[in-house]
């Protein structure tokens, strides 16, 4: 690079900084596409975004439509000719009691997991606000579980939850409590999965909540003190509403993620356990154990509709809640 070039770059960068922060310098936001080199974009921009989008279309959009097509056929995993069966697969889906059970299981799991993780995570974040010795080490250790493979974590928790020699029951035994059969009792299995999920993902909710709390400017707390607000009022009217958007975001992320629950199910109870058969596990069972690809696709389409609907409703809810809350307060 020439000396002139470097100088120009530094000047330009300074101009950019001024243009953003002050009222001086030429407007930065809209000038790019039109003024500098007219029409250079037209062919070039697709070279930048094209490859990635093509891959996404091939691996995401196309399969969705293909899945829709398959859901009207009786295709089998083993291959062979598939024939068009109309909406037969969908009638099967809605008349199978297992589907309703899987829906209930998934819903129970999602509701409990999100509620526990978000509230526990928020409470932890409140404790994590003030600086203290060893805070960063503690935070790092807490974040480890959520970075691990759910399938591997699920397998390993077998050692902890085992009814005979698991550490959990050993501790309970030492405390004189009972010996619940975490992995085999049909009433408990789902809660064992929930326990693993809470262990893995509470720190996630905590991390986002902490970001929300840290974003509240300190002078608002000073103002509230001057305004003679009690600690409870400060929490209820300042801390909670101002950190709510990010807490809601944590809930949204956890909801969409918990809806997919599959890896731990496979590693803890297997796909065909009635007490823990989530929607994903049911899909697996139908497609890979019963070899019914067409029917599996119908299940998949229904699941897709649910996932999309839920995330849409959630996003809308967050938006309206925010505006309403802002005005009501």
């Amino acid at each position: 690079m020439t000396a002139y070039g470097e100088g120009a770059i530094i000047r330009a960068a300074r101009n950019d900084v001024l243009g953003r922060d002050g009222k001086y310098g030429w407007p930065q936001s809209d000038c790019w596409n039109s003024t500098l080199i007219p029409h250079e974009n037209d062919h070039l921009k697709y070279a930048f975004v094209g490859p990635a989008l093509l891959l996404l279309i091939a691996l995401n959009i196309f399969p969705l439509f293909y899945s829709l097509f398959l859901s009207f056929t009786n295709a089998e995993l083993s291959g062979g000719a598939a024939t068009f069966v109309g909406t037969a697969n969908y009638s099967t889906v809605f008349s199978t009691p297992r589907f309703a059970t899987a829906m209930r299981t998934t819903a129970t799991f999602v509701c409990l997991a999100v509620a526990i993780e978000v509230s526990l995570g928020y409470a932890l974040a409140l404790c994590f606000r003030a600086p203290f010795r060893g805070k960063s080490v503690m935070l790092a250790v807490l974040l480890v579980p959520m970075m691990l493979s759910p399938a591997v974590v699920g397998l390993y928790w077998n050692v902890i939850l085992n009814g005979n020699y698991g550490i959990l029951n050993q501790i309970l035994g030492a405390l004189g409590a009972g010996q619940p059969q975490w992995l085999t009792d049909p009433d408990l299995k789902l809660y064992s999965l929930l326990l693993i999920d809470v262990w893995m993902w509470t720190p996630f909710a905590m991390l986002i909540s902490l970001a929300g709390l840290n974003a509240i400017p300190g002078h608002l707390y000073e103002a509230a003190q001057i305004d003679r607000a009690s600690r409870w009022t400060v929490f209820r009217r300042i801390t909670l509403p101002l950190s709510f958007p990010l807490v809601a975001l944590a809930a949204l992320f956890r909801t969409t993620d918990a809806l997919k629950l599959f890896d731990q199910v496979m590693a803890v109870t297997g796909p065909n356990d009635e007490a823990t058969q989530t929607l994903s596990a049911l899909l697996y069972q139908v497609i890979f154990r019963n070899y019914k690809m067409g029917q599996g696709s119908a299940y998949a389409m229904v699941v897709l509709v649910i996932v999309i609907a839920l995330s849409t409703i959630f996003v809308r809810h967050i938006q309206t809640f925010q505006t309403r809350h802002g005005r009501a307060a």
């Binding site: 770059i9 691990l148 970001a211 496979m266 994903s280």
Partner: protein
């Protein structure tokens, strides 16, 4: 005071499984499945007063095939490494160029595209696996490394695009403008101005793509049953054989498998929030 206690007890409970993992890996199998309350490895055979008596047998036998499997742990680890690394390189490369395009050009429907890429991340893998399987069969891709690499690249693209767009948006456009004025081509401006400045972002993105590919289970299990089996699939396959499996060897394997993730987590600790929220929240 209440806060300290609450935080302390949660930390203790949350750290326990991790500590237990470490302890289990240095025990004998007899020790692990002994139902009496035994925290430390004691090698029950000889030690009558329980004392700290670890064994490295779990690590020494790491590669012994388990329950009829042909391959040992290292074979699956190698699969994970190859697939993880190559797919990461591909997603970061494609994701960075795509993010640059979205960040600097006027792409028709850019918002829709971006939200579409994000929404693909919310879909359960099992819901799109059928058509993928059919497609893969057409191209002879099941059971190949390249098949999983391709899939993870596509799967991680949304993450890479969103993260990289956040990082590239933060680089002032003026740098490139100056370069263009100085006679650089657009491509030169991208490679010589943007890429060097986006290095941190690319490293963070790479770590999150790698972790995601490293940990993936749903696709890996359904698109493979022979050659390209990764560690999570191998481990999860042991479920149901609880009594028979050699826990010390497995937990040693789990530790070896998660160690790089822990190291990476520490390396990108300042960007974790960004990574896990697709760049929507910045620390």
């Amino acid at each position: 005071m209440v806060k300290r206690f609450f935080l302390g007890s949660y930390f203790f409970i949350a750290a326990l499984p991790l500590v237990w993992l470490l302890l289990t890996s240095v025990k004998t199998r007899t020790d692990v499945i002994d139902p009496s309350f035994r925290v430390l490895p004691t090698q029950t055979v000889e030690a009558s007063p329980p004392s700290f008596n670890p064994t490295t047998a779990g690590y020494r036998d790491l590669n012994e095939p388990i329950s009829g499997s042909v391959h040992g742990f290292l074979h699956f680890l190698w699969n994970s490494i190859v697939i993880g690394l190559l797919s990461t390189i591909a997603s970061v490369a494609l994701g960075t160029s795509c993010a640059y395009g979205f960040s600097r050009f006027d792409i028709p429907g850019a918002r829709d595209w971006l939200f579409f890429t994000l929404s693909t991340r919310f879909l359960p893998p099992l819901a799109v696996v059928v058509p993928l399987l059919v497609m893969y069969r057409t191209f002879d891709l099941p059971n190949t490394h390249i098949g999983l690499i391709l899939l993870y690249t596509g799967f991680n693209l949304s993450l890479a695009v969103w993260l990289m767009k956040g990082f590239i948006d933060e680089i002032p456009k003026a740098y490139e403008e100056a370069a263009l004025v100085d006679g650089y081509s657009r491509w030169q401006a991208f490679t010589r101005i943007i890429l060097p400045q986006a290095r941190t972002g690319m490293a963070v993105t790479a770590v999150f793509c790698l972790i995601s590919a490293w940990n993936e289970f749903g696709f890996a299990m359904t698109l493979n049953n022979a050659r390209a089996i990764t560690v999570p699939v191998y481990f999860a396959g042991l479920q149901g054989d609880i009594q028979g499996i050699p826990w010390p060897r497995i937990t040693a394997g789990v530790l070896v498998f998660v160690a790089p993730i822990v190291v990476f987590t520490v390396l990108v600790r300042n960007h974790i929030l960004r990574g896990v929220t697709f760049g929507t929240v910045k620390q």
